[in-house]
């Protein structure tokens, strides 16, 4: 069981954005994607999500080609948090979260409201529920979108089917404390039969929270493996074109980018 991408190639306007990328996301694990700006990280994420149309290669969800999975079934199994949303109308945060509740065809069931309040509470956004989404700060919006993805993947305890959570820089506008609690929540979620693929810029956080790391550069995978295998100073220095040092203390990696 896994969300597997094999040999992905994406071409946009005659430019090769992804060039033969293969990656696997396993339930119970966090896979971090790192790499310089414009490396193709977000394209990799959208390609795996099933939304990208100009794609060669194969993406399978527990062995089934995702092109053959209906959008509804796909939505039950994987949630995506994109980098930004352009919402025009004045929805409340509660209404935004309710959009993530895909288990009932119509309206707000008592179960939906109960779970939304519960998940919002675990994300620490209870006090935002009745606010207008448009009045939130960038960081608050990001926490709401993360919460929406968790609402989408909610299922009863006894349901052990694998789920997948794809996150594109989920903590980009968060302060250090919110960033930490979001990433901890992400790891907790992964331990409940959920495979997480997360794009991160902070190399220290990536090596601390991820079970495996995929370093992408110019549409290709440069390195893919356990954090201590990927976080090689020479490799990172080459890829980022900036001096990077790595220290190891008590099995923890400390990466210095200055």
């Amino acid at each position: 069981m896994a969300l597997v991408a094999e040999n992905l190639e994406v071409i946009r306007k005659d430019k090769l954005i992804l060039d033969g990328v293969s990656i696997s996301v396993f339930p119970g694990e966090v896979t971090a994607v790192i790499g310089p700006n414009g490396a193709g990280k977000s394209t990799l994420l959208t390609a795996i999500s099933g939304v990208e149309k100009n794609l060669t290669g194969l993406v399978t969800l527990d062995g089934v080609d995702i092109k053959k999975v209906s959008p509804v079934e796909l939505a039950r199994r994987r949630a995506v948090m994109a980098q930004e949303n352009s919402i025009v109308f004045d929805f409340s945060v509660e209404e935004i979260l309710l959009m993530g509740w895909i288990r009932d065809a119509f309206g707000r069931s008592p179960l939906a409201m109960e779970k939304i309040v519960q998940i919002a509470n675990s994300c620490g956004i209870t006090e935002l529920l009745s606010r207008s989404f448009l009045t939130l700060s960038g960081g608050e919006k990001q926490r709401v979108q993360f919460c929406r993805a968790l609402v989408q993947l909610w299922r009863p305890q006894e349901d052990k089917t694998s789920r997948y959570l794809l996150l594109d820089e989920p903590s980009a506008s968060l302060d250090v404390s919110y960033e930490l609690s979001l990433l901890k929540l992400m790891v907790e979620t992964s331990r409940r039969d959920t495979g997480v693929l997360v794009i991160l810029h902070d190399l220290n956080l990536a090596s601390y929270f991820a079970d495996s790391i995929c370093l992408v550069n110019q549409g290709k995978i440069e390195a893919y493996g356990k954090p201590h295998e990927v976080m090689e100073p020479k490799l990172l220095t080459d890829v980022y074109r900036s001096p990077i040092r790595v220290e190891r203390q008590n099995d923890r990696l400390y990466i210095y980018t200055y």
């Binding site: 509804v72 949303n85 929805f91 409340s92 993530g100 119509f106 309206g107 989408q152």
Partner: protein, 340 residues
């Protein structure tokens, strides 16, 4: 749009709102049935004490007219709301963005060329609504692909493209006017003024059924329309069959607008004003918005038609004049508000 705190929109507040709107519609409906060039007592009609003239006026003129105006109002308001949702643009109104113009062009083409098509007699009464629906559909489809390709649905792109389409339909209608003979020209001019005056049950019933079915279909897509507000990709992530949803919205809103235009000419601004009022007072979630827009649209259009009937008895104002007189200042106010 200026964001605001929506916390006071509790469920009981919304229930009260819907109760009041339903009450309003019933009051307006009853009032419009009884007022006009011939004042009628509804009680007298139903207990049989009305004169035969009054009964005839009620059955053949007043009742179909009020019913038609209500349904066209609801249909235009709901179409406006779903087009705004589809384009993610609060200023999309079927009239402003050219959908009504496309419908009008289709209808006019049928008035002028319909006879030379030699259609079977059974479908002749429906040929003009069909042509109008086709015109509305072509415009919506074009606008959607154009603004998706060139402007990421920016407010300005959609409105400017709408101006261009409206200009083109005016050209087309002008050409057809030039090509038409005297009888056709008369039909055409009367039709274009926009009025519910020619309502009779034979034309009202089928169109009313079609528009009601359309409104119900659109309301059933409320949750998917909500999700579309997050963006097309996000809607797909949440399990929405985005292309299917877009096709349904374009097709059904075109049917609603086209059927309305075919029966009563171009009536502007209802699709803009009504959804805005509902969003401000009840909320933006589509299940609330569409249902509320149907109620308010019907009330507003019945009232506008009542004004057009009784303002200058025995003559009539075109109802499009009344709605535009209300709607155009409202539109200016919206623009001013968006600039704040």
């Amino acid at each position: 749009m200026t964001p605001r705190d929506t916390s006071h929109f509790s469920r009981s507040y919304r229930s009260l709102g819907f109760f009041l709107l339903t009450l309003l519609l019933m009051v307006v409906f009853g009032f419009a049935l009884s007022k006009g060039a011939v004042p009628l007592s509804i009680i007298a009609i139903f207990d049989g004490s009305a004169s035969s003239l009054e009964t005839t006026v009620f059955n053949h003129l007043r009742a179909p007219r009020v019913v038609l105006s209500g349904i066209v109002g609801a249909s235009l308001a709901v179409s406006g709301a779903v087009l705004q949702g589809l384009f993610r643009n609060p200023l999309a109104d079927p009239g402003l963005i050219g959908v009504s113009g496309g419908a009008a062009l289709g209808a006019v083409a049928m008035i002028v060329f319909g006879s030379s098509l030699a259609l079977p007699e059974t479908i002749t009464p429906y040929s003009m609504p069909m042509a109008a629906i086709l015109g509305a559909m072509v415009v919506t489809l074009f606008l959607y692909s154009f603004s998706a390709y060139y402007g990421q649905f920016s407010v300005v792109t959609v409105l400017l493209a709408g101006i261009a389409i409206n200009a083109l339909s005016t050209v087309g209608i002008g050409v057809f006017q030039y090509l038409s003979d005297d009888a056709q020209l008369r039909t055409l001019v009367f039709w274009m003024m926009g009025s519910f005056g020619r309502a009779n049950w034979i034309t009202v019933l089928p169109s009313a059924v079609v528009m009601l079915v359309g409104i119900v279909i659109l309301i059933l897509h409320s949750r998917q329309l909500d999700r579309l507000q997050l963006g097309e990709a996000e809607a797909f992530y949440l399990g929405v069959k985005v292309n299917r949803l877009k096709r349904v919205i374009i097709l059904v809103s075109a049917v609603c607008v086209g059927a309305g235009v075919a029966l009563s000419g171009i009536i502007g601004f209802v699709g803009l004003v009504v959804p805005h009022l509902v969003r401000l007072t009840l909320g933006v979630s589509h299940s609330i918005l569409l249902f509320g827009s149907a109620l308010v649209g019907a009330s507003l259009m019945i009232s506008a038609d009542l004004v057009s009937r009784i303002a200058i008895i025995p003559a009539e104002l075109p109802v499009g004049l009344v709605t535009s007189a209300l709607g155009a200042p409202f539109f200016l106010w919206l623009i001013a508000r968006a600039r704040d």
